[in-house]
Symmetry: C2
Subunit: 146 residues, 2 copies
DNA sequence: TATACTATTGATAATGAATATCAATACCAA
DNA sequence: TTGGTATTGATATTCATTATCAATAGTATA
């Protein structure tokens, strides 16, 4: 099943309704491979569907998150962002502080080390987030002058 | 030089003034080994010094952060927290989602792997943050029933 | 010491994102 | 149909953070 199907299943399973607004919001979200704030998603949605309210977008994002097709990411810039979760394996982020360009990173070795650290302290890991901030190739060239 | 000295040096270097309020706030902050929100620090400060304003605490935290004796941490709970930086090597966090108990973790091997990942993508690392959320020994026992 | 200048303070206002409220409307099952 | 509930969009509220501002305190200079 695809992301949309998973969302539909979740909504139905909760006894909620399948509405055009939700469908439109989910479509726009799934068509955008970015880390969006609610405001940004709202703006995108409004480009196509003029009458949808901000609150409806906000509520749809909440539902998408609960359904597992959406994940909240927090880069510490003061607003929460959301990205696709379904079909995207767990990953962490490498973000350019200058232009915002990011790479989704993953290392099995690194994940294993994390798990070992957790175990060493007697904890049980539920989830983690790792964000690395730096300069992308282009920006590091510019900053260093050439 | 200690943390307080570093703060004083930074303040002086910027042509700013050494005030009693700043001294009081810095003292309280340095005496508390926690990850504090501004509100929490404000409450602590007010216990001893009744007349200090919230804005003054907020501004002092900003100064402490700039001076390098304080670091902002963000656990995604909606408000920013601050911890000692001076004399605390770089570390990441392992946090219990149930009771909030945390451990400051560090692994040279893990840091090296992070650096390798960054280099592989042509980025230059400036800083990173890694927060692992889970259950502490006590809480994992409780949750599993024994 | 008097004076002018600037930094600082504390109260309060403004901001901005997230969330709650609410009346109107849409949907569903009987 | 009809009654009950979910949903919507507009708006209000909340909450943390940041900005504003008049009053005050500190500093340098004469
Ligand atoms: Mn991502
Ligand atoms: Mn810490
Ligand atoms: Zn860049
Ligand atoms: Zn715990």
């Amino acid at each position: 099943m695809d992301a949309k199907g998973k969302f539909g299943q979740y909504v139905a399973g909760k006894g909620l309704r399948h509405t055009v607004q939700r469908e439109q919001i989910v479509d726009i979200f799934l068509a955008t491979e970015k880390h969006l704030t609610i405001q940004e998603l709202y703006d995108l949605v409004r480009k196509k569907y003029k009458s949808i309210g901000y609150a409806t977008v906000s509520r749809a994002v909440k539902l998408m998150t609960e359904s597992g097709i959406c994940r909240r990411v927090d880069f510490g810039d003061g607003s929460q962002r959301f990205e696709h979760k379904f079909g995207h394996e767990h990953h962490d982020h490498l973000i350019c502080v200058r232009c915002g360009k990011f790479v989704e990173i993953y290392s099995k070795r690194l994940e294993k080390l994390q798990e070992q650290l957790v175990t060493k302290h007697g904890y049980v890991q539920l989830y983690h987030k790792m964000d690395i901030f730096g300069l992308c190739p282009k920006c590091s060239k510019k900053v260093r002058g050439r």
